[in-house]
Subunit: 336 residues, 2 copies
DNA sequence: GTTAACATTACACACGTGTGCGATAAGGTG
DNA sequence: CACCTTATCGCACACGTGTGTAATGTTAAC
């Protein structure tokens, strides 16, 4: 990087002190309008661009927001990041994006790196393997603001943006029940993850409310990937009597189950009806089209960013007790 | 942000000078192994985390890589970003991600913001509407390194990572020809974008090599989105004689054409065969499964990041004449 | 004409880190 | 013992900006 014009250069050119230049550029009332004009003119003439690094160091804060997600290339997270960036851009912030690859250790490393880079705030969806939150608490103790979304960390005192996973799962399951299904299986994500738990509870509640008994055998927690859906369905197909419906924790898992069901010579939805979660674009074009629960991912990112930026600007926490819950919507397609 | 432990705190605790601490932490040979050990121990004990802002200011460079893409939530770009982040993380860099939303003005704003934040380098895929490159040249003049990928900017002297769009399009088109198709249409992206042009040329070359004449009427440049594919196909269906095959610039466009074709009561591939580009996950599950050209998006990000980081570290440009061309692979499915 | 009040600017220092150079001490060589 | 080499560490300053306070200039009031 070549050296560039600084406020000292401007000061030298006008034969005044650089402190005056600094104030003039920030429209400080203590500096005479005339000199203010001169300074700004010279700044333009010399093509001055402030060194944000120096300002950040002095102010001990930045215009950067750190974002940590399990995997960027998953459509849901990509859409959330898209929403975050949109809001951040409008507010003059830039986003630092990291992926934990579902590994706790890497999430910690990411957090440390972002802290070192003095991000003004953090937007996080935790990894599957995260069960402790010291790295987040450390950041908060230093005055950093955090907002969680989707996979939130309950024990940390911070705003959380989620969809109504319980209600969405409840409706999805009830939809299956209304269609006469009685042996409804569930493939979950990872047991201690908030969304997994909420969706599982919604599933179970729908069963019980409708007088169906809950069988632990019909529930498998395998993960969030397509391959996890395959593994889960392989396990479920060994059961007798065989399930006649599946509520999957998300769309990739549901799609993963598709292949196993078809390979077993079974028909969707005749033999096994399937419902997913998240309205991934893939769900609309898969064969048969997948009934799923729409969750507003892009909006989720926007809300999270808006809350965080408000907190950064005000310096105050807000709404740390009850999460912001966005509504879901059941999208009925041919698979159920 | 509350103040944190600095090297001065460590120095005070050990009753040595902070300069020695600085050197000890950076494994400078001038400091005794014993004190080096003591310093590191104390650093861990006090939970020291370096203030990168200060280091950046002193060094006049950062550990940040700026990434500008048209839209994050498109699977292709999300996958590339994923690859970039992976390599950057391993090398101790973090990535600043911006989206241009296909708008030139916003791309310029993004670039300026990233320059202000003193990113060490830039990885860019330009927007549809970008036809000038002063903002990139400005960055280079200040010593910044740029690597372009996919939608590259030809006029700028920088390494470029692309797939063999020409060859991929050629093979895709020839595949259609081998199946007896004669009136092969093409829906392109935006005419001045590098990938659009290369794919169009491959398409045209395949026609001409196989003795088919090229008809401008059969080519529409509409954009890269699904909706552009719909618009394009609506236009193509008005032609007589109707095309019997389509080579689309990418998978979303191909999928967009699906709907219009089906609504017109036509069958894929019987009436119109379709080939896409990029092997978007959606292409495998759409009905019928879409024949497409696989491009290694994740690897593209990794290569781009590797090249950029090498350039940053060495301070030298490399390979700015001929782009790094990754191979494509035709994936044959039911749609053609 | 003196003084108070105010406007404007200069000075000095701080943020946390890195580095050239000098200071000190230890050890070796003649 | 004198001298040089080497190892180790402290001192001072720098990066570019922001800010409290002192200093200077200007105006108004008595």
């Amino acid at each position: 990087m070549k050296s560039r014009t600084t406020i000292k250069d401007i000061a030298r050119a006008l034969n005044i002190h650089h402190a005056t230049v600094s104030r003039a550029l920030r429209d400080h009332p203590d500096v005479k309008p005339e000199t203010r004009r001169l300074v700004k003119e010279m700044a333009r003439k010399l093509n001055y661009q402030p060194n944000i690094l120096a300002r950040n160091l002095k102010m001990n804060s930045t215009n950067m927001i750190g974002v940590i997600v399990p995997e960027i290339k998953h459509h849901f997270f990509a859409a959330v990041i898209s929403g975050i960036e949109e809001v951040a851009y409008q507010a003059g912030y830039v986003i630092l994006v990291c992926q934990s690859n579902e590994q706790y250790e890497r999430e910690v490393m990411n957090t440390r790196a972002l802290i070192s880079n003095k991000v003004a705030g953090l937007i996080v969806s935790i990894s599957q393997t995260t069960q402790q939150g010291e790295h987040f608490r450390l950041f908060q103790e230093q005055g950093g603001k955090i907002v969680f979304f989707d996979r939130v960390f309950e024990e940390i005192n911070a705003p959380k943006v989620v969809v109504d996973d319980y209600q969405g799962a409840f409706e999805a399951t009830e939809h299956l029940i209304r269609q006469g299904r009685r042996r409804i299986a569930h493939i979950g994500g990872t047991e201690h993850i908030s969304v997994s738990l909420a969706r599982f509870r919604g599933y179970r509640a729908a069963l019980e409310k409708n007088g169906l008994s809950f069988h632990p055998d019909y529930v498998v927690f395998s993960g969030f990937h397509e391959s996890d859906g395959q593994r889960g369905m392989e396990q479920l197909l060994k059961l007798t009597p065989r399930p006649d419906a599946l509520f999957a924790v998300n769309d990739p898992v549901a799609v993963g189950s598709y292949e196993v069901i078809k390979q077993a010579g079974l028909k969707i939805p005749d033999d096994i009806a399937v419902v997913g979660f998240s309205n991934n674009p893939i769900s609309a074009v898969v064969n048969p089209p997948l009934t799923t629960v729409e969750q507003p991912s892009y909006e989720m990112g926007k809300y999270a960013a808006e809350i965080l930026i408000r907190m950064i600007k005000s310096g105050k926490d807000e709404n740390t007790e009850s999460p912001l819950v966005l509504n879901t919507r059941l999208i009925k397609r041919a698979s159920a």
